[in-house]
Symmetry: C2
Subunit: 546 residues, 2 copies
């Protein structure tokens, strides 16, 4: 008797499992249930279709029901919601066109995804407030922007979807305000990196309101978004994008174990607490490979990889999912911001000791046209130098460096390994010392004690008269702005002017990006001074200020 | 007494060593000898200055003598050639402005680089034949193209420098012919990958002559390049770019050990056979980290990294250079070609068993505008799947994937590791399954026996009637061209038409890129057929043909 496998959810996790399972086994009976009207759509493309950057709706349909049935011989049931699991009889209950029926299984796969969080705010149910998850949502929004051409949009939540929507609505000429309850947008980044993204958004004419939540949605016709601060923002349309939560209802009602973060609990083979039921994608809790803790990582890359693993296990192979690291990236107009692994906020929460280093490197050889600096932040173990995470903001070449660093994080590499990576260099692509190498050099220097660094935020905790701030940039750079109270000796005349510096105070050095500060540090320390270099230099200082 | 260190050569390796050594030790006396008139110039940028893509000569001077002296307190001696090493007294002999003098050292560093190979061909010394290595060369060539505007250039040698010069001369409106003695240009690539580059060059109007060498340079005024085949090509200017050889004369004359490839022999700490003499850069032989054999890898990335290591060792730290892998990349008009690790030619030469796999993936999500396919070739151990090397040609995003693969090669990762890499995905940057993941999936499937692949070149060795060729592409694709003698059943109707296929012959499947061929393979084999999938599909077939 061939196996019978039921799959709940027909997009990244579900359709991926179905396709791989069919490749592995021609005989297994596969039925895929999808509550909505489409399988295999490009969730990640939805914001770009709204603006017309993706200009045809069909492009969003990576695979249609008919094509998938033909190629993979899958029984696909659209508009069919699985409403209950009867684990004792190994059956599910399906509601379709008002009919309810049962379908039996040998194995059940749950890939129901995650749903937008809808906070219970007064007025939340009124017209004009949207979320964006699927084709139905996008059709509604597309019709709205096409027909009504909203003048003012308020986006609640400054995460990936909120920011992508901000950009795409702005393309359409809509005035956009992002309201974010936290002190920064872009949770995966730490605050100083997020500041760069915020600045870009503001430069593009998007208003950002931080540290403020929505109290209520009021008004007639147009929506008046009333904030906790007392402020009110008018909108023709509101997009709720305050995050997603695992769709765990089906699993929970069936008594399957649910993890501490609310995701369906699975073992290393992605099996739930019931050995006949697998789960994957946005709905599950995975192991964060950096800190070993359960995490919710609602991203398409992991979902697609998990799909292959679930199919393998059902086909009788024992394959494990080792965990996830949350590598993510976003285009913000001409800026790219990306992150992988753990950020400072996460490490602080867990009480994990860490060190960090900033470097600012050109996207390719500075002497070849078009080189644009990117800020690279790496976070690593102060002991062995194992990489915990990385964040980059810049324009060109950010995606390349985050992928190399993501590979490094995944493989448990250290900052010393980054020093040695032999990456491809020709002038249009990189420098002989790639930004990733540079990050490695700088971090290794810190760990080896060749330089002592400080971070701008630490300045606040120092007594004003315990140190002096030394600016080692050129006269020209100095003229364009400097930190109040700093003394100025360009690095190239430092050796000659050592007598101008105090020997009883700590000298906190800064330059533009940290490089010349490091050279100055080496000169000072070898001449008996007590010095420290500000990591990332004036550029990070300015990012923090903006 | 402070140490006294002499450095021969003032560019990548030499200047890099000097800078790092100064940072490590303020007291050491450093004298850097440079035969030419410039230190720290951007060798790699030279071709782009000739065309004006790099529009200012000054941009090529990454660091000037004065600036370097000021910042690093280095005694820089231009136009000073080191002509001999007296190891017994630890002195070098220096010739400068016709004067000869000696300078003593505690440590000597050799970074003299590699010089263009000048084959002994009749007429080689006549006017109008150039090489490109340094500022003097570039000044001469720049003057020539500016004043004389050569109409026809012949470039001897289809390596990196030859191709970059071809592109840049073409930009200036010069007709360019590349003459290459081997059967392909671009040695680091295997032939089928090189074909794509050749095709691009020809599409851009550059003539390529393969399998032909220069017999003599004749003619009056203009140069008549006479080839072994009997063919003659007229040129106003000839660029010799047939490779470089390590500058080992100084070392050889001093009795230092020279390796089998002609490079200066060094140990893991980059020390020559004399413990007081270090050597680095293009002049040395390094260990190929893939095959452990000595190799010449004249690239700027390794030279710069070795510089730090030499300085560290002289400063008393024991640091090893683990070896090199020859990661390289080139822009060829709008194409990018890149390679890392060992190619097939190298593995065949060494008799190392290997497997290979081709995948063709879009640079980013196919549904987002601007996605362009790239061909990814990976070569790996047929046993454990350890990656031996990778080659990619495409347009966008080639540099990113080669860097991830270079990291994988360096760290000894397997194709199974590539399957798991969690790379950054948003539609403008990649796909949920990145091209690197796809390469991993496909290779892992081969190793696990889930698919049996064949390569186009193997077809030649099969008996015509031992197999049938099955085209599983769509009707539309078929109409646009197919392999002579193939039968046609689109993959999506395969299950229904199995009875049309023979059970006594091997079925060799092809589609466009290999993906649908793999799906067809799974269907056929599970239905009892003997099948094999052509890796890389029709696209690789066409690349091989062009
Ligand atoms: C606007 C947007 C942009 C995004 N951008 C990115 C990006 O750039 N990069 C990235 O990595 N990720 C991105 N994501 C996230 C990515 O799409 C998800 O991580 C991925 O789709 C998760 O796959 P899944 O199978 O778990 O869930 P989904 O793809 O959401 O599929 C779940 C499906 O299950 C169906 N379903 C649920 N319950 C039932 C039921 N009981 N019965 C029947 N059917 C059911 C749902 O209708 C849904 O279609 C984005 C998501 C959105 C919404
Ligand atoms: C046109 C061109 C393009 C290139 N493009 C790339 C690229 O895209 N990517 C890449 O990775 N690499 C590229 N390279 C190679 C790269 O430039 C070299 O690998 C790197 O410069 C090697 O550094 P080095 O210190 O060993 O030698 P060099 O940089 O060549 O420096 C050696 C110096 O030593 C001097 N010298 C030699 N002998 C003596 C002596 N006896 N006394 C005093 N001085 C001496 C020479 O005058 C020379 O200036 C390119 C090279 C060229 C020429
Ligand atoms: C469309 C969909 C059903 C396709 O599933 P799929 O067939 O597993 O995936 P792909 O088309 O990417 O093909 C990958 C398979 O082809 C193989 N393959 C890829 N290129 C190949 C080549 N050149 N030669 C041979 N095999 C190749 C891979 O090995 C893999 O097979 P495997 O999993 O058995 O190892 C699924 O990806 C989907 O629903 N996607 C849209 C939804 C989504 O992901 N949304 C979130 C992102 S927007
Ligand atoms: C110009 C040249 C002398 C510079 O040498 P250098 O000072 O060692 O190199 P860089 O300017 O790249 O700086 C790298 C140093 O700054 C440090 N650094 C870089 N960014 C930093 C930052 N933000 N904060 C602190 N330190 C930083 C690095 O750690 C490294 O120091 P280390 O080696 O002591 O660890 C040398 O690279 C050269 O001659 N280049 C031109 C020739 C050439 O390479 N040609 C071939 C390619 S075209």
């Amino acid at each position: 008797m061939p196996k019978k496998v039921l799959i709940v959810g027909g997009v990244a996790g579900g359709a991926g499992t179905a396709a791989r399972l069919r490749r592995l086994d021609e005989t297994v009976e596969i039925i895929m249930f999808e509550r909505g009207g489409y399988i295999s759509f490009a969730n990640c493309g939805l914001p770009y279709y709204i603006s017309g950057v993706i200009n045809e709706r069909d492009k969003l349909l990576v695979q249609t029901e008919e094509a998938m049935e033909e190629r993979f011989s899958i029984d696909i049931r659209l508009h069919s919601e699985v409403t209950a699991i009867h684990r004792d009889t190994r059956e599910v209950e399906v509601v379709s066109s008002g009919q309810t029926y049962r379908e039996s299984y040998d194995y059940l796969v749950l890939s129901p995804g995650a749903s937008p969080i809808i906070p219970s705010i007064p007025g939340i149910n009124r017209e004009g407030i949207y979320t964006l998850r699927n084709m139905a949502d996008v059709d509604q929004l597309k019709a709205l922007v096409t027909e009504k051409k909203p003048r003012r949009a308020v986006i609640i939540g400054g995460g990936y979807i909120g920011i992508e929507m901000a950009e795409n609505l702005k393309h359409l000429g809509t005035d956009v305000t992002i309201v974010e309850a936290a002190g920064q947008i872009m949770g995966p980044l730490d605050v100083e990196m997020a500041r760069v993204v915020e600045k870009t958004l503001m430069d593009k004419g998007i208003e950002i309101i931080l540290n403020d939540g929505v109290k209520s949605f009021d008004g007639q016709g147009n929506i008046e978004v009333a904030l906790s601060s007392g402020r009110k923002v008018e909108a023709d349309i509101v997009l709720l994008a305050v995050g997603v939560k695992p769709e765990n209802r089906l699993a929970r009602n069936a008594g399957l174990a649910i993890g501490e973060r609310g995701g369906i609990k699975v073992d290393d083979c992605l099996r739930t607490s019931d050995p006949y039921i697998y789960a994957l994608g946005d709905a599950i809790e995975v192991k964060d490979i950096v800190n070993g803790q359960p995490a919710l990582i609602p991203l398409a890359g992991p979902a697609n990889k998990q799909a292959r693993i679930v199919a393998d296990n059902i086909a009788g192979r024992k394959v494990e999912f080792k965990g996830s690291q949350g590598t993510s990236i976003i285009k913000v107009f001409d800026l790219t911001a990306a992150a992988t692994g753990n950020n400072e906020k996460m490490l602080q929460l867990k009480g994990t000791p860490y060190a960090k280093s900033y470097t600012i490197s050109p996207s390719h050889a500075a002497y070849y046209p078009g080189a644009i600096p990117m800020i690279v932040k790496i976070i690593f173990s102060p002991e062995g130098g194992t990489l915990f995470g990385a964040q980059i903001v810049g324009k060109d070449g950010v995606d390349k460096r985050i992928d190399v660093l993501a590979t490094a994080v995944r493989m448990g590499l250290t900052v010393y390994d980054l020093e040695e990576l032999e990456l491809a260099y020709a002038p249009p692509y990189s420098s002989a010392k790639d930004p990733v190498n540079m990050a490695g050099f700088t971090a290794a220097n810190i760990l080896k004690g060749d330089v002592r660094v400080m971070h701008w935020e630490e300045l606040d905790n120092l007594l004003e008269d315990s140190y002096i701030l030394l600016d080692v940039r050129t006269d020209k750079e100095r003229q364009q702005g400097y930190v109040e109270g700093s003394v100025h000796i360009p690095v190239d005349s430092l050796r000659k002017r050592l007598n101008e510096l105090p020997r009883d105070k700590r000298i906190i050095i800064y330059c533009k990006i940290g490089l010349r500060g490091y050279i100055a540090y080496r000169i000072l320390v070898q001449n008996g001074f007590d010095a420290v270099n500000l990591s990332g230099g004036y550029d990070i200082y300015q990012a923090l200020l903006y």
